[in-house]
């Protein structure tokens, strides 16, 4: 097992074609060739922190507010979960908790952990990192569920004073937070995951 970089070659990030290091553009798909994406980890940090910054107001401000017969009550993500728990709706409560609380927070922790483990070359099997990376790549988009829920409810439930659901500022912040963390996960160069570990057995 030998990577293109160890063989002194450059593999295209987009299509996998193998090139000499002096080649500039991929002869197959035209992408500018880089052995590793430049500043991949810094970019990941930058987008991750941006996402985190927007995640704070997303939790502080109400996601949406119900207006039933003139009385209006808005609730944040956490208040919503508590509300459903108190009602005894454990299924709803756990779905919302997974989509808007556990997945985003888990994403921040995992991306942060991945970047740190690559940067400091923590003694962690590459396969464990691969699992984490794929988890983040796969799961990140699913946080958008909450944004769609708010958009659907607020556009459908509109019967003036009888019953209306209005979007709250938290929903917009949440949408931005999801977009920024998705970009953050995409900025990770997955090839870095394997760089230090794959060498070890070769040199023995």
């Amino acid at each position: 097992m030998i990577s293109a970089r160890e063989a002194g070659l450059v593999g295209c990030h987009r299509c996998g074609t193998v090139h000499q290091p002096q080649d500039h553009d991929c002869r197959m798909c035209g992408k500018t060739l880089k052995s590793r994406k430049p500043n991949s980890l810094q970019k990941t940090w930058a987008w991750l922190i941006t996402g985190l910054v927007f995640y704070i107001p997303a939790n502080v401000f109400p996601l949406l507010s119900n207006r039933v017969l003139g009385s209006e009550d808005g609730h944040t993500i956490i208040e919503g979960i508590i509300l459903f728990f108190k009602k005894g709706d454990f299924l709803v409560a756990s779905v919302i908790m997974a989509a808007s609380l556990l997945i985003p927070i888990g994403k921040f922790l995992i991306v942060g952990f991945l970047v740190l483990s690559i940067h400091y070359r923590w003694n962690l099997s590459a396969h464990a990192r691969l699992v984490l990376y794929e988890l983040v790549e796969f799961i990140g988009r699913w946080s958008m569920i909450d944004v769609f829920v708010v958009a659907l409810l607020a556009s459908l439930i509109r019967l003036g004073a009888i019953i209306s659901i209005l979007p709250g500022p938290g929903s917009v912040c949440f949408a931005l937070s999801v977009v920024f963390t998705m970009i953050s996960a995409q900025s990770i160069d997955a090839k870095l995951i394997w760089d230090d570990t794959s060498k070890e057995p070769k040199h023995e």
Partner: protein, 211 residues
């Protein structure tokens, strides 16, 4: 290092785009799939008629989307009052300040980007399938189609609808519109479309016809 790889002929090699591991290209039998031996991501699939399938599914998704936009998506009723909303209503519902972003999220991730991706796939693959030279900027078009894949979120939208229904619970009575069912089919079609694209086949065909 003795790895048995032939570095003289770079066209006989492929580096896994996900983990950089070098592999020797071998001719695959139809129906076979080449995966990276280290990270197990798919390198090449040789589905028979990968291009036909992708084209058919991309065109089908466009037809379904056109239908899904025309009909009501969900309906609600409460105290004798009724209201129906189509996807277009959902997009246009938000006009105040920053809330425009909510409608924009639906517009982009659910309607526009999946359709742009389908259009780019058709643009790239149609001439290739006919055995004609690729259209101008076909490489760029296909690269964008692939880059857009994670941003097309139709399946997430459908799950979001389910969650929304659970969330309303007893607040109002909800009914499904024609558009909802079209959308469920659309999600399946887009799923099959994404699974039928073999990047390596398309990249090498573009290269063959432009060379």
């Amino acid at each position: 290092m003795t790895t048995g790889l032939n570095y003289q002929n770079l066209d006989g090699l492929i580096a896994c785009p996900h983990c950089d591991l070098l592999h020797e290209l071998e001719a695959l039998q139809p129906g076979q799939r080449a995966t990276c031996s280290r990270c197990h991501s798919t390198l090449i699939t040789t589905k028979s008629e990968t291009m036909d399938r992708t084209l058919a599914l991309a065109l089908a998704s466009a037809v379904l989307m056109a239908g899904a936009l025309c009909f009501p998506f969900l309906g609600m009723s409460k105290a004798g009052l009724e209201r129906k909303a189509s996807i277009v209503d959902v997009i246009l519902a938000f006009s105040e300040g920053w809330y425009v972003l909510l409608g924009l999220c639906v517009l982009l991730f659910v309607v526009v980007l999946p359709m742009v991706r389908a259009a780019l796939l058709v643009y790239t693959i149609w001439p290739l399938r006919q055995g004609r030279p690729a259209l101008p900027h076909a490489k760029l078009a296909f690269a964008w189609a692939e880059a857009l894949a994670p941003w097309a979120m139709t399946e997430i939208f459908i799950i979001g609808t389910a969650v929304a229904l659970i969330k309303i619970g007893g607040l109002a009575t909800i009914s499904f519109g024609t558009s909802f069912w079209l959308f469920c089919v659309l999600v399946l079609v887009i799923g099959f479309q994404n699974a039928s694209v073999c990047r390596w086949t398309i990249w090498s065909t573009i290269r063959k016809v432009t060379a």
